[in-house]
Structure formats: C-alpha cells, structure tokens
Symmetry: C2
Subunit: 389 residues, 2 copies
C-alpha cells in the first residue's frame, strides 16, 4: 500500500493535525470579541517569528499579494529601485515594482548562488545622491534553493537611506531572519510555508521609516492600503472580512511554533538541509547550489542528464505517491527540488530518500542501494547523540 | 444549555458539515493534475451560479479584493464613472473607483430603498457623447437590507456603451442574477455568503466587452491582472498559490448547491425573507426597508427607540448565544440586521425569532409572547403545504 501522499514541495506544506482540527470550527462574527482576541494573539505571535516590534498586517491573499502590498505602499511611481535577483522570485518582485511605476535596475546573480554583498556595496556607494529609494531582495529563492545573507546585504547598504524590502515568503522561520536587529524595513511572508497552514494569508511587517514613505505615496490602492489596515487593527479588527478558518489555523500553528521554539525550528530546518544534501551526494547526484548558499527550506538536485528530472518526479509520484517539485523556466527537467520546510518529520525524509534511491536504480543510475539512506541515518544518529549530550 | 452559536449575520455564514469535512483534507501540489481537476470543476460550477458562459477568475482575497480587481482591470484612470449607491457598500465601490483615478459621479438613493431605474435612464440619456465609461451598482446592499433590480437598471442603460459592473458579493445565489441574459459585464462575488464556505475567496466574472477595455487599461496591477489569470487558467492552474482548503470547500459547496438547484435556493432565500418579515411585524417591530426593495439575504429591523438596537443584540448574545449584526454608520443602534443567507435552516430562524420575542419582553417592549413565532409557523405550514401539492 502506498497510502497517504508525501508532499515535499516548497509550499504548500503538510498541515499538522492540531492545525487541521483548529481550522475545523464554526464561523464566528469577525467583528466580535472572540475574533478580536484571535487577531491580537496571532499578530503578537507572528511578530515574534519575525523578531520584530514594528507593525504587522495580515492580508487575505497569496504571498504575491503581500509583495504587491509592499510595492504599492512603499515604492512611489518614478522611484529608482535596485532589485537584486537570484532567480524566478527575485524577477517577480522586480516585475511587480516595475508594474507600479518603479524605475527598476536589476542586479542579477547566477542562479544557484546568493547575492554578493560586495557588489551591492559598490553599487550603493556609487549612489552619492541617494537616488535609489528601495532595495528589493529575496530571503529564500525557492526556484533555485539558494538563500541571501540578508544581514550582510543590509550591512552593505550602510547609512544609505533606501528602504530594504524583503520577500521572505518561503524563508521565514526556516532560515534566520531578524527584522529589527538587522534593520530590515519591510518583510513579506506567507502562510503555506514554515507556518504550516494552508495558503491564503500573507504577512507584511514594516517599520516607521517605511510608514513615512507610505504616507506620501500616491499609488492607487485600497485593498492593500496600510493606513486603513492599521486603523482597523487598532480596534482589534481587520479592514476586510478575514479568512476566519485560516486565522484559526494560524493561531494553533503559532502556539506550536512557540512551544517548539524559534531557535529549535531553525536548527531543525538546517539539519534537514544537511541530511538531504549528504544523502543525495552519496547517491552520486550533484547539488545545484553550493553549500554556502544552500537553503534550509528546499534543496535543488541536478538529475543525471540521461534520466531527466521529470522522469524521476513521475516515477516518485506513480510508484511512491511522493510529490517533488520540478525546475522552473530554464531549469525545467534539469533539476528537481525537495522541499523540507514546515511540518515534515525527519523519518519522512528518510522514507523519501529511500524512494529516491529506488527510483534511481529503476532508472539505471549507478549507485549502491541503501548507501544514501545510511548516510541520512548516520546524520540522524549524530544529531540525536548531540541532543542527548 | 445555550449550546452552539446561532450566527445570523450577512456573512460569514455557517459552514455545512459536508463542506467542513471536505476542507479538512491534506494539502496537495497546486500545480498538479488533482488540483487542475478541482479548478475546472469549481470554475464550471461557479459559472452556473452566475448563469454565465463568460470568463470567471477566482482570487485569494476578501470580496473587497474582488472589487479592486474589477476597478483596476476595467476602469481606466480618468474614466467617468457613474456610481449608484444605496448604502455603505455602494459608497465603498465608488471609493475604490475614485482611488484608482476614476472620475466618479455618485448617484445616491435613500438608504433602505433600491435605485430607481427611471433616474438612471434619465442620466444615461443625457450622456449623448458616451462620456460615462462604467456604471457601478450593488446587487444586495448588506448595510440596509435592500437590493437593486439589476435587470431594470441594465435595461435603463439601453444601448449606452458603458460597462455595468456589479458588486454581488452578498447577493449572488440569494437573489436572482442572470449575468448573460441581463447583459451584465462584470460581476464580483465572495465565498462567505450564499456559497456557504469561509471567507477568503472572491469571484469575478466578466465578458468579452469588458476584456477589450482591460487590454488597453494602463492601471498598475499584478496580483489582480486578468490577463495573467486567464493565461494560467488555460493551463488548469492559478497565477498564484491558491487557498487550497477553501477550494476543497468550494468544490463541495458547489455540489450541494447544484443538488439543491439554483431555483430552489432562490425560493428558499425569498421564503426566509418573507417569514422573518411577517414574524417581526407581528412583534410590533418596524422594518427598515419597504417590501418591494427587501433583500432575500438580510433583513434590517428598526429597534424600538426606547430600547436601542445594540441592547437587543447584546441580550441576544448573552442570553441566547445568537449573533445578529448591528447598523453601520448613521444606523448604529437604530437597526439590527438578521442575516438569513447561506446554510441556515428554517427551524433555526424559528428559534431565533423565539429568542427575539423573549428579548423584547425582557426589554419591556409590548407584545404578545408567541405571536411572532406563530406567524413564522403559519408561514412554514403554507410553504410546506405548497411544496406537497
């Protein structure tokens, strides 16, 4: 029996039973006291995950909606925008900014790598007149499995007055992010990743510096308007009818996250990354991303050329009911991506790595059956021993 | 024991168990075959409820998001817009259009009434040069419990080339709406009303005439862009990660709606309206809206002045765990609103009417206890007899 599906894509991620049960509650009045208490608890909780004491709004939207909220509030038409891109989602953020009248200068880095703070510093240092109003950057680039070192990038900007705006949709709570300590001005995230709830909510945190820009921003907006959102939040309400069931789920997920502890969550994700990388290397597969840029949320693996990534994914689905993500755009059929963020157990990963070995054997890839899984087991043995010490 | 809550507000509405169970399923790949089948089934089903064969997109958003989608795609900056308003939500639609650069001319009607097609016709006839590009109108005005006769309003426009854009967020499937037959160009709706699922999805249907306007529209947009939405829909996908659990719920709700039959659903809502109105009249209460404008989705009731609407609502909540809506803006404490749309049983309404009588007695309103409930029972007797014939 294949049984229930293994879903290992970089979002949506599996839903814990506790969250599913919490969501399965009756509707209530979204302008009543009971819901006010939920709003206050989740805003407070999500801020803890952001490590921020600044403003935070929750939108009924996909992650992309949160990015549009960021752009329409904090980038004024005609503003010069430096958009750092290391893949598909960096390109998307740049495209949204351009659609809203930003004069976008793209700074691209090879897919599979993170942005180089030195190059960012050189460009920022050139901008003596402060023409650049915003720097856009992706936290975790889901399309390649690389992440950006936000702390170094922010440091590279020094005293430059531009806002730094971060797409952390798939990275937050999987990879370290300290909004206030690092001086990040705007950070957008989503519900269907490390937050372990279904898609449909987007989070946007922003500080006073960003709010000042917002107040003078003439962009057309209503749904995304930060002013209106904050006004309702003061009353313990949302500006528009909120997705109540997703708020129930978020409330429970936040409780689970705070019980586990943010530090432990980050260590868990880093361990999963290291375990998966060690194991697939042992299978003779090549990783798409260098170790120093490797994401804790998703791992991109090059398929052997004579097999192709999509054949591996097809076999994994048909024979083992396991969903892996494919490559996007030029990486289609070149890489496959194994998501390990959110509510994934370590033994789930062992199972899926075992299935991957079997799939590779079936596709006549040369490897020693069991060696990759053993590597994962060794990794687990070490990490369990370390915890016991 | 008070037990589970009676939620009788005009959205969110109670969730049927079948829908709740459907939503409580694991996440799946939103770009896979299984989800493609769901998308196709729900698009087809929602179109049936709209009575349209035109385009339909589903946004991860509140109803207001759908209205912003309509404005940002179909109203060009500088366009003259005739915004018909009969209450708070008519005002909101006008405000969104103004925020996106529409030159809005408001045509207001007294709260509690519907728009007069003659006045609309007179204004449209004046516009010899076709300066007006869009007419905005609300289907069901949730704030007052009045509805607009869309068929007559559309007829009043005759051959005028302006688009007619309808906010049907709370009205669709509770009050008759025939998009294609009546010639409505853009119709927006939401999930948390007669569709019986939690908030978080907004539907927007539009025809080819609207699409032609959209293709020349220079408004800044990305998330709401109809072109991108249609492009992904052709592949059986959504442009951005969809709220998967809400799609599960929508799929089940649509099946329930098609089993019941749209005609029967509309009769049910009309019956609820008539039953509630007859019953509260018998209690000596005054209705805010004349019979000819009375909504099938929500009934607005004037509270006796010496009691006040909010005292009635407070007592209903504390003593009978029943949530009614209050009045908005100038109607605060003047009216209370009883929502009877979506998954409400006829006997639920009997219970709540009984509680309302008890509340009125407690507040020293003069009435014969039981008379209002008896009126409701008589209504049910007649309608059950009619069905049996």
């Amino acid at each position: 029996m294949k049984g229930a599906q293994y879903l290992l894509i970089p979002g949506p991620t599996p839903i814990p039973l506790r969250v599913a049960r919490a969501m399965d509650r009756p509707m209530i009045n979204h302008r009543g006291l009971e819901f006010k208490n939920i709003i206050e608890e989740v805003i407070d909780g999500v801020k803890k995950i952001y490590r921020t004491k600044e403003h935070l709004l929750i939108y009924p939207a996909s992650g992309t909606g949160g990015l549009e909220a960021a752009v329409s509030n904090f980038i004024c038409p005609g503003d010069k925008v430096l958009a750092i891109s290391i893949g598909v989602f960096g390109d998307r953020f740049a495209e949204i900014a351009a659609n809203f009248g930003g004069r976008v200068e793209k700074m691209e880095f090879a897919w599979g790598s993170g942005a180089d703070p030195e190059r960012v510093k050189a460009r920022i240092d050139q901008d003596k007149n402060g023409e650049i109003k915003a720097v856009l950057i992706t936290h975790n680039e889901t399309s390649t499995g690389a992440f950006n070192d936000l702390k170094s990038i922010r440091e590279a900007m020094g005293d430059h007055p531009a806002l730094i705006m971060v797409d952390a949709v798939s990275g937050l709570a999987a990879i370290d992010l300290r909004m206030d300590e690092w001086g990040l001005d705007v950070v957008v995230s989503g519900s269907q990743k490390a937050f372990m709830i279904p898609p449909g909510l987007s989070f946007m945190a922003f500080n006073e510096k960003a709010l000042k820009v917002q107040q003078k921003n003439p962009n057309s907006r209503y749904y995304w308007d930060v002013g209106m959102g904050l006004q309702y939040q003061e009353k313990g309400q949302t500006a528009f009818t909120p997705p109540i069931s997703l708020y129930y789920g978020l409330q429970e997920a936040i409780r689970m996250m705070l019980e586990e502890g943010l530090e432990n969550i980050l260590v868990r994700h880093a361990n999963y990354r290291d375990m998966v990388r060690a194991s697939v290397r042992e299978m003779g597969l090549e990783l798409f991303t260098e170790d120093r840029f490797a994401s804790c949320a998703v791992t991109s693996i090059r398929a052997p050329k004579d097999i192709g990534a999509n054949r591996i994914r097809k076999y994994m689905l048909e024979e083992f009911n396991t969903i892996l993500a494919g490559g996007q755009q030029s990486l289609d059929d070149v890489i496959f991506r194994l998501g390990h963020l959110g509510y994934i157990r370590e033994l789930d990963l062992v199972s899926v790595l075992a299935a991957l070995e079997l799939t590779l054997v079936k596709c006549k890839h040369k490897l020693e059956l069991g060696a990759g899984v053993k590597k994962a087991q060794e990794f687990l043995l070490n990490s369990h021993n370390a915890q016991a010490d």
